[in-house]
Each structure stands twice: as structure tokens, then as C-alpha cells.
Amino acid sequence: MIDLSVSLGPLRLSHPLINASGTLDLFEVAAGLGDAILADPPVAAYVPKTVTLKPRPGNDPPRIVEVEAGMLNSIGLPNAGVEAFVADELPRLLALPRPLILNVGGFAPGEYALVAARLRRALQLHLGGGPPDGPSPSSDEIRAAVGGDLPAWTARVGLELNVSCPNVHSGCMSIGADPGETRVAVEGARAEWPGLLVVKLTPNVTNVVPVAQAAAEAGASAISLVNTFKGLVLDRVTLRPYLGGVTGGLSGPAIKPLALRFVYEVAAAVDVPLIGMGGVTSVQDVLEFMACGASAVAVGAAGFRDPWLPARLAAELGLALEGRGWSLSDLVGRAHRR
């Protein structure tokens, strides 16, 4: 059996397949289709939907629409806010038998640090590792910790900064489109978060490399990409914008070649591990993202057809590697080698 395990900072994943934020709610699936999915989630690490500082209702309906080889969404980050998240979601998330990568959105670069700090304090309370509501560790303390002794809980929980959502009117994507703002957001979060810090980038930029470099320099331990591509769908009859949020984000197989290009470019430019996503539906797609340089691969909208898809792809990845006689490291970054 091929060793499929991968490390993302202090998180160890049994295989490279995870879900993309906002596309799999294990508790909702469990409520509808049974608890089995909680006992054995189909992902090597679970990424909940973006949480923000304040509660948000999300955008007006309609919020989704199918297009050729994909869909647009204009969900708009509905969530109950970080306080409710800590109170209602975190306990059951921590009960899952998988590492977590909590996903955080913000509307100004400084918001990420506030949410990160709140989550860290809650985790310290739940899982030990520091006074729950004591003062923040100093930035230096955390930087030291990241290199050396991390609190034990950092092996269970990582953080992903969504600086790339195209469906909100301010912040988020506009932050991730700017290397300077990205740097501020990441530095702020890094100062509050000792563990795995993933920065999720937007492809709606002229050049993603400076943004990725800024994120890495500011302390990101991994980079995930891509979030959705901004697009527009008209109502077929009225020929006016169909989605309540007017524009939306395109995902699905339509964006795969574009997403691969972003992963390929960032892999060549930064040294941190990458989480690749964008239109993954098959094990071939997983191979391609990893060949472009991704250490882990996230299933997004294709999981709507089958919430267990990531687990199936992980099994198929093992077979595919066996068939080729490759180890994971033969695969990762292969497209860059002669």
C-alpha cells in the first residue's frame, strides 16, 4: 500500500483529499442522510464554511445557477459570526475524527486577526495549551512557537484565510487581489495563530505570484487556490442578471485548466505547500493538480453530486500511483520537472 499521507504544517493528513470550504457541510449531510458520515468523514481534513467576525445573512436568492461544465454561486458567506461559531459549531467540529482547517473571511485586512484570535482562545479552552482568555501571545512568542514547540492542538486544527471570495461587496477578494493588503491580513492572523495558516487566493488577478509571495513572506504555512472566478449569468428570458448578487463565482470543470495554471505558477514561485482546487471531479484531476505542485487537493462543487467523492478519489489515487509505480513525491511537482 502506497503511503498517501501528507503534512500541512503541523497537520498530518492520511491522504491528500479534502473538501473545499463552503461545499460540504458534514452535519447537514448527517442530518439528511445519516450519521455514518460523521463517524468516518470522506475527507482527510475537514474544512468548514467561511466564518466571519459578525453574523451575515448572505446574498439574496437566487444564489446558484448551472452553466456549461460548472456552476456560479453568489452565496455571500452567510454565517452566524465567530461567537456563535465558537459556541455552536466548534464543539461538534472537534468531535470529528479528522483534523480541521477552519476558514475565516474578513472585510478589512485587520479582521482576520480578530477572528483568528477568537478561534485560538476557544481552542485553547477546548483542547488545552494556554490560558483561554488570557492576553494574546506576543507576535514573537508565536513566531518562535511556529518554528519550535507548538501547542498540541495545532496538530488538530489549522486556519485558512479566505482572502478571495468574489461574492461580497467589500474586503475578501479585494484583499487577496492586492499583495500589500494580503500581507497585512496574513501578518495579523499569523500573530494570533500558532498553527497551520493557509491563505486561499483568488484567480481574479493579473498576477497571482506577488500575492502568493506576500502571503508566504507574511507567514502563511500553505497556500490554497483557486477560489471561484467572477462571472455573470443572465436570466434566459428577461436578459437581466439572474443571481440575487448580480455576479457570482464560477466553479467546476470549466475552470480546471485555469486553476491548474495558477497552481503551476505559484508552485514555481513560493516554497510553502499548496492545496489545489478548481473543477476536480476525477482521479485524473487529482493527479494533474498534484503534478502542478499541490500537496493536497480539495473537492469543491463536484462533491454536491456525491458528498463521499473525496474518499473515493483518495482510494483511486492510491491505485493510480500503484499502477504507475510512483510514490506521492514522484507525483507532486512532476509537471515542473524535465
Binding site: H15, A36, V65, P253, F304, R305, W308, A311
Partner: protein
Amino acid sequence: MAAEVGLAARAHVNPAPELQPSPRTPPNSGCRLARVAARQKLGSMFVLRLRAPGWPGGAPGQFALLRHEASARFLPRAFSLHAQDGELVSFLIAPVGPGTEELAEAGVGEGVHVLGPLGHGFDLTEILAGTPRRLVVVGGGVGVAPFRLLLDRLTTHAAATLPEVVVLFGFRDDVQAECLAAFEPAVDRLRARGAAVELETICEDGSLGRAGLVTTLLQEVGLSAGDAILACGAHAMCQAVWDLGLAAGGVRAWFSLEAGMACGVGSCHGCVIRLADGSLAKVCRRGPVFGAGEVFGESRHPCAVPGGDR
């Protein structure tokens, strides 16, 4: 909820993540590859009967997401459970676009992915517990689909415990109305068990007698206090039906609503509608069957309509 608390408790017992790779989709996960057992054209619609191994059975008003295994579409499509018999589950489908047309051409033996049963249907226990004077079933177009299963379910109740059942169906034309053939046996069975059942149909274009909407029929049968309405159809139809219910007073009503869906299980937040109180609700999880008041409010001219202010 109990399960979640239980799992939360476990966290402290087993804080380390398990490192084994996950298995493939587990056999009874609600995600099945079914086979087309039969496909029967009924006017402009068709009944797709699938053999879905391990199908657990669902309630009337629940739905499933279907996707042909060779589909060229990205997302699955939602369809109300129409009838079930062990592993066999049927859907009444109107071909209106690419997804439904793919299914309209599915050959016997071909694979269709089925995710379900999903959502909350018509809760007959709750509805009958209110001892309604009559059950008024209102279906418009392909919105009649869930009522075959509903009639079948009523057949399992003792006739004496059942109120009078009034079934009112409205169609565009007589071709669409041919799907009636899928309902008549169920009506007959219910009658045979001694239940009082009335079935009336009307077409917009008058091709089955006079022209009219299903609300024309509803006005004729005359709603009154104690009636319970179970309806499914276009949003405007539902709104008009509830207006009549409010006018009559003392009427309770449940509506099966539609929204574009991606996941069908509550993962994506895509299928929300705006409720009367301004909040948003996932059709796939809280619905698709909603109480009338939640959706349209209790006053006759609601300002908040689903779809919000786009």
C-alpha cells in the same frame, strides 16, 4: 442533535485524528447508483421508475437528486418522490430543459445516480393530528408529482380516521393532463378502502372542458375553516391558493416549494428562499414543504415574497 452531542463527547476520548484512508461511498449512504427499470411517457411528462438498491423509502413531499451517469450537465436535478415499492422508486418528470431531457431519454438498464430521500415532506401525522375537516390537495402542472405517494400513504390509514379528500389538479392542456393516468389507480384504491375522495381537473386552455386555473376549482369547492391544504406548483399558484385560504379563515396549508439546488442536503446554502419574516431558509433542508404562514405570512397581501428584492 443527540448524535452530535454524542460525538462531541467522544472528542475528549479520541482527540487524535485517525490516519486510515476513508473507504469509498458507503453502501447505505443515501448516494446510490440506480438502474432505469421503466420509463413511461404520459402526455408531455413521463414516469421514470428506478431500481435503487437499499432504497429506504421516503415520505410524500420528500425529494431526491437525480443525475444520469452519462450526464453532460454538472449538477443533479431535484424531483419529488412520486411512488415507491421496495427498491423501486418512481418520479414524474416534465422535460423542461437539458437535465430533464437527459432523463427523458434514459434507456432501461442505464444508470442514474440517486441522492435521497431528502428534505422534509408533508407530515401526515401532524396534519391529521389537527383533525382537519377536509384534506384539499392542490397540484399545478408537474407539481402534482408528490401527490401519488401521498394518496398511497393515505391508503395505509384506516378509512374511518381520514377526512374527506379533495384532489384538485390544474394543467396547461390536455396533453399535460395525461399524467392523470398515474393518479387514478391510487384514487381508486383509496376509494375502495372506503375513503371519500373527489378528483377534479381543469386545463388553462379549456381542452378538458372549460378553461381555468386550479384556483377556479378551489373557489368552487369553497374553502372553509378546518380545511387543510396540501399544495405543490408554481410559486404564483401557491400564493393564490394561500390567499383563498386566508380569505376563508381557519384554514391550514402546506406548500412544497421549488428552488434551484446544487447539493440538496444543506451544504451549499444555494437554495434559500426568503420567508415571510424576512429570514432565509434552505428549501432542501427546512423544506421543500413549508407551512403557509412561514412562507407567505398570515395577512392577505404579504409584501415579502420568496426571491427577495433582487
